[in-house]
Each structure stands twice: as C-alpha cells, then as structure tokens.
C-alpha cells in the first residue's frame, strides 16, 4: 500500500543522505521525496512516499525513527491528511491543440505560467493522482518536459507534527 511518511529532521548536512541511504540499504523504495527547511531554521521537513505491506512499513518507520537526525515522524496515511504534489509541465501548443491544452488546464484548475509561440508551461498542484490524470488527459499533446516536486503533506485538523 502507498504511504506518505513525513518527518522533521535536523537541518544538518548528511541528514538527507542517511534517510535515502536507509532505503537503498534495506531494500525499500522511495517513490517521491520532498525536503525543505521549515519556519525553524534548525529543522527540515522531509516527506516521502513509499509502498509496502504493513510489516515493511512498520520496519521502515522504526528504522527512520532510529536515525539520530530524525527528530519526529508521522505516517500521514494513517489519518486524514492533505497531500500536494506540484507539477510544471511544458507542452507543445500549436494549432487546434493550443486551445485544447488551455481548456484541459482550466478544467484541472491549472495555470499557464509561461507562454511561447509554440509552447505552454503549465503549473498544476494537487494529489499525485490528479497530476497523473492530467498527464493522461494530455495524451494527444506533445509533452516536452515534466517536473514534479514530490508529495508534501500535512494532517487535517488540530493534529500537528512539531516538537
């Protein structure tokens, strides 16, 4: 099953490589990875998505928790949560397809953030599923480049991941 694991870690050099190294060392997969500093400059927030059965996920979270640089961790998929993946996608937009791309973008509530005579660059945020659907909807369009941020996530309601 797909899981979104999010953690606060020391904003130290090497912390990220410990997390990533753990996954390859123990044969787990990282599907997406997103990391950036938080409002507290000593802490980074790292969110990753992975897949595995319950036993694997239990081992993954236990091992992540053991890393000295990991301060606190939550499996967001255990409760209600919001997830966002950000995509920038550059497509060929010429002729009849130019309008078509615009329409599809509107339907998905995306924005065209850069316009060229032959290309559009579209920005779209949402769940990973939504971004996948958008890419699927662009089947007839010539996709030139796709970049995604990886999932960032947060719990719904009062629940917070903080010290």
């Amino acid at each position: 099953m797909r899981r979104i694991i999010s953690m606060l870690m020391e904003n130290e050099p090497g912390a990220l490589s410990r997390v990533v190294g753990l996954f390859s060392q123990r044969g787990y997969n990282i599907e997406t990875l997103n990391v950036a500093p938080t409002d507290d400059p000593t802490l980074s927030r790292l969110t990753l998505t992975t897949a595995g059965d319950d036993k694997q996920i239990e081992q993954i979270t236990k091992h992540l928790n053991k890393l000295v640089d990991v301060v606190k961790l939550v499996d967001l998929t255990e409760g209600a949560h919001i997830e966002r993946d950000l995509m920038l996608i550059k497509v060929r937009a010429q002729g009849v397809l130019r309008d078509e791309v615009k329409r599809t973008t509107d339907i998905f509530r995306g924005q065209i953030v850069d316009v060229g005579p032959n290309v559009y660059t579209i920005q779209l945020a949402g769940t990973s599923d939504k971004l996948d659907s958008f890419v699927a909807a662009m089947a007839d369009v010539d996709i030139l480049e796709v970049v995604r941020s990886g999932v960032a996530g947060i719990s719904r309601g009062e629940k917070v991941l903080s010290l």
């Binding site: 020391e10 239990e58 236990k62 928790n65 053991k66 000295v68 990991v70 010290l163």
Partner: protein, 582 residues
C-alpha cells in the same frame, strides 16, 4: 578559569575527561596534530597496532570485555577504509565504539585531495551515527555526544571525522567538557510498557512448555543477574544465542546450551516444542530460526528488546516490550511475584515437571555435554582441545575466537558461566577478529587468562598483530585448531558440493608457526598427540607473561554438529552426525 586548547588538544583532553583507558590507533598525515597533542599531554595510553582493522577489533574486544566503549584513532583515506571491517563487525553485534578518523583539510574536501575518502559516506550504513567536525569549538560536545550515543540504547559504533585544519595547534579555543548531553532527536527507551509487562507475566506463568531465549542484549545491558534470577525463580529452561553465551551460567542444570544452526539438540527441540518463548535481547537471526515460516509453530512469543526495529522484524512477537533488559526484567520479576502471591499454583508444576522430563530425555539422547558426541580418531579431535582448554583454565578464561569450525567448537564446548567472557564476531563473522580482540581484552584485564581460539586460516588475517603483542606485552594464548583447511567452507563443500574443495586448502604453503612465533619473540609449540594435549596446554598457561601459540594438529575431517537442515528445515530438523538426522 577557562582553558584555551587547540582542536587536537581538546580531543586528547576530552578522552581523558571521558575516562578512556586505551586508544587503539595508527598515525598518518591527517591526524598528526592529534598525535602531537597526545604525545605532549595526554594520560590515556595509545596502543599502536600494525593495521587499522586490528585497531577496531582490539577496541571492540576491549568493549565487549569491559562494557565500556572502545576508542580508535586512524588517519584519513587508507587508514579510515582499513577500519571499515572492524566498524561493521562492531555494528552487527551492537558493540559501543567511538572511531576518530582524520580527514583532509576542510578547504580540500571534495577535490580528490591526497588521502581523501568520504568516510562519513563509506561508513554510513555501518554506524549508529557519525559526525563531521566543522568547527573546533564543537569538539567537546561532539565527543560527549558520540560516547553517549555509542553506549546507550542499542549500543553501536560512532564515527567522528575530523579535517586536519580543525586540529591545528596554533588556534586555541575555550575548552569545557560537558558532564552530560541532551539531544532532542535521540531518546532510547528507559523502561518497558507496564501494561505489556503485566501481560507478559501472565502469559509466562500460564506456560506449560516455556523456554527463555536470551541473547547478546542481556550481556550488553548487564541483565545477566536478573535473567538468572528470573529463570531460577520459575525453574524455566534457558538457551543462549552465540552472542548470549554467559548471560546464563552454562553449568546450571537449567541451561540447555546454545540454540540455532549449530545449537544443541535439546535447545532446538525445546524451542520447537515450546508453548511460550521469552526472548530477551535476542534478534531472531536467521542462524537461529532456520525457516521462519516453520519456526516454533506452537509458541507464543514475548520479545524484550531496547530496539523496536528488532521486534517483529523476522518473527512476529505476540507481546512486544521495548525497553532495556534491566528495567524490564526488574518490573517483570515484580509482576511475577504479585501474580504468584495470589495464585500460588502458577506456573503449573505438573506440566513443568513433564517438560523437564522431556528435556532431560532429549539431553540424554543427543546432548553435547551428556556423553561423547564425536567420533574416534587417531588424531586429536577439535572438541577435545576445547575441553582441555576448559579444564586447564578452570572455565575462567576470557575466550576470543575467529570464525569457522573452531569458533563453533569453542561455543559448544567451553562452558561460560559469566557474561563478557566469550568474545566473538557473530553477526558479521569476521575472520581476523580473534587475535586483535584478545589484545584488547588482555590490556583491559592484564592478570586474567586470555585465550584466542583460532584456525590456521583466520589467524593469518591479522597475524601482523603478533608484533603489537610483543610491543605491549600482551601474553594471550593462541589455540590454533589446525585442520589445514578453511574448515567451515570445507564442511559446506562436503555437505552440498560432493566434497569438491574449491579453494579451501592451502596445499603446502602454510608457515611454520613455531618458527614464526620465535621470530616475533613469542613461544610456539606444536601438539600432535592427544596424550600430550593437557600437558602442553598447562605449560602454555603457566607462562603467564609470554604469548604462547599452540599449533594443535586436529582431525581435518571433523564436522560441526548438530547442524540445521536447510533449506526448508525447522528448528528441530538437524544433522546430528555425518549420517544421522532428526
């Protein structure tokens, strides 16, 4: 008044303040400032090994024997990479160690500078944690943290990588060594969950066929006395892993011997047929469980471990308890007392009696200590060597070993009554561990008998340390079980490859070990006859201030038994001899 010290001096001073007894190391360019500081003013003696791998094993042996972290100092590049095998060895067996490695100057990092290696990167999967020093001011706190992390919770090695410029003598900083450290991101469990411990106590007293399976964590966590008390109060049988030998007295009637791949028949049978297993500080290693899906089918499992990741990793636990052995066992003993005050008929004595009767039957049938279980030979049998070693040292020696058949014979036939006496590489299985580890043990306990049980293959993997033994006068006794084969490899080739000995013999290339010992200034003796074995053994141990190497020619065809049947076998499926199976 605050003292001003250079980075190098701070390291020297911090090691003193930490109460370090020995530094095991080897110098080189990147650590010369540190060495100069040690030379000028440091009370901690430094042991110069002959290879950095041996520095880590010696520190490791010291740590296993004393319970205190071993300390290693190596230079950058090749010094650091040579230390890797020893760090991995300590990591796999959860041994506390702090390794200082030199690094090229900060401004050269990343430029493929002379003797540059990304030590933090290379060691990452085999350390509990690591630090790269960025500022000299951070050194005292970093060292304190390193020792704290290495020695608490599940122990393990910690690396501190130090760029040379950080230790330069001309820049001085305020030095203050912290008494303790707090880390927001590191808080190992201090005690178990009371509710879980209550449940465990109930399950334990309801058992009809109980067994206690105790591992290296009991030794690491100084839980042997409590475990022994618990086992005796309940009159439950105890088995130890290879790493746990000595956690429960081997000569106690309740001890069933080691369990696992080369474990005792009675221990493996009792595990397989048990209804409740109390696992303490043991990690259900694949050398123990055999096929996991067939592991102890009727047993409910209580698993006590300070590391949550050890619990339900391979075998699911029915009652997991995360906590250090001491605190958990104390609380468990208290809970058991409360229950048994109210229900004095627990545990069921009739059931327990039947269980012991069954166990004694198993013991009598195939137990390694209840009759001679090895064949006749004109040559000395390896088991006889260990029996002789046990007799001559009154069961009171520190015994280190290398890896192979000799290691298993030592584990099976030397009966360890105390923790920290049996010192071997179990998780990584590192040949070359035995001699340097014995050096570390002997330095920690200069007046004790220290034996290194080895094979002619393993001893050659760190034989250069004979010179270190000369320099520091460490009179270890090397017991070389010489079968002229990589015996454990040969055993597998006999059993699975129809005796095709691919690269498991050395033909006639072995050195004359007796002459070799003389060359190093030690004593070497060869033993070929059983009739002279005890006498030579006694002669060796009587030379209290000399390193003595006993080159004992043994029957090369002997195998280690019992041995789990694999693949697809369970705990109870064992070879008992070359042609006898359960």
């Amino acid at each position: 008044m605050v003292e001003l010290l250079s980075g190098g001096e701070m390291i020297a001073r911090a090691l003193e303040d930490e109460g370090v007894e020995y530094i095991f190391g080897y110098p080189g360019g990147a650590v010369l400032h540190i060495y100069d500081a040690l030379f000028k003013d440091c009370k901690v003696p430094h042991v110069l090994v002959r290879h950095e791998q041996a520095a880590t094993h010696a520190a490791d042996g010291y740590a296993r024997a004393t319970g205190k972290p071993g300390v290693v100092l190596v230079t950058s590049g090749p010094g650091a990479t040579n230390a890797i095998t020893g760090i991995a060895t300590a990591y796999m067996d959860s041994i506390p160690m702090v390794v200082f490695s030199g690094q090229v100057q900060s401004h050269l990092i990343g430029e493929d500078a002379f003797q540059e290696t990304d030590m933090i990167g290379i060691s990452r999967p085999i350390v509990k944690h690591s630090f790269m020093v960025k500022k000299a001011e951070d050194i005292p706190v970093m060292i304190k943290k390193a020792f704290h992390i290495a020695a608490t919770g599940r122990p393990g090695p910690v690396v501190i990588d130090i760029p040379k410029d950080i230790t330069r003598p001309d820049e001085k900083f305020e030095y203050h060594y912290p008494r303790s450290v707090k880390m927001r991101s590191y808080a190992p469990a201090q005690r178990g969950h009371t509710g879980q411990i209550k449940k465990a106590a109930k399950l334990l007293v309801s058992a009809k066929r109980p067994i206690i399976y105790a591992g290296g964590g009991v030794i690491q966590g100084e839980g042997s006395d409590l475990l022994t008390r618990l086992a005796r109060e309940l009159n439950y049988p105890v088995t130890n892993t290879l790493m746990g030998l000595g956690a429960f007295p081997a000569t106690d009637r309740q001890f069933l011997g080691m369990l696992g791949m080369h474990g005792f028949y009675e221990a493996n049978m009792a595990m397989h047929h048990s209804d409740v297993i109390l696992a303490v500080g043991a990690r259900f290693d694949d050398r123990v469980t055999n096929t996991v899906s067939k592991f102890c089918p009727g047993a409910k499992i209580i698993h006590v471990d300070v590391d949550p990741a050890s619990i339900s990793k391979t075998v699911p636990a029915d009652i997991p308890i995360v906590g250090p052995v001491q605190a958990v066992l104390e609380e468990l003993l208290a809970q058991l007392a409360t229950i048994r005050e109210k229900e004095s008929d627990l545990p069921d004595q009739g059931a327990l009696e039947r269980w012991w009767k069954q166990i004694d039957e198993w013991r009598g049938k195939h137990g390694l200590w209840t009759g001679r279980r090895y064949g006749e030979s004109k040559m000395i049998m390896p088991q006889q060597v260990i029996e002789s070693l046990y007799r001559v040292t009154d069961g009171d020696a520190y015994v280190t070993s290398d890896v192979g058949q000799h290691q298993m014979f030592a584990a099976q036939y030397y009966r360890f009554d105390q923790p920290r006496r049996w010192i071997n590489s179990g998780g990584l299985g590192t040949m070359g561990f035995g001699l340097p580890a014995a050096m570390g043990v002997q330095l920690a306990f200069p007046d004790k008998a220290v034996a290194c049980v080895t094979g002619e293959g393993s001893i050659q993997m760190n034989i250069q340390e004979l010179s270190t033994c000369t320099q520091y006068n460490t009179p270890v006794k090397i017991i070389n079980l010489r079968n002229n084969y990589l015996g454990m490899v040969k055993q597998w080739q006999d059993m699975q490859y129809e005796g095709r000995y691919a690269m498991s013999t050395y033909e006639d290339s072995l050195p004359d070990f007796v002459k070799l010992m003389e060359a190093y200034g030690h004593v070497g003796m060869q033993v070929t006859q059983l009739s002279e074995l005890d006498a030579k053994m006694e002669e060796a141990f009587a030379m209290k201030d000399r390193l003595v190497f006993l080159d004992i020619i043994i029957d090369p065809m002997e195998h280690v038994y019992p041995m789990h049947v694999a693949p697809n076998g369970s705990m109870k499926d064992m070879w008992l001899s070359k042609n006898e199976r359960t």
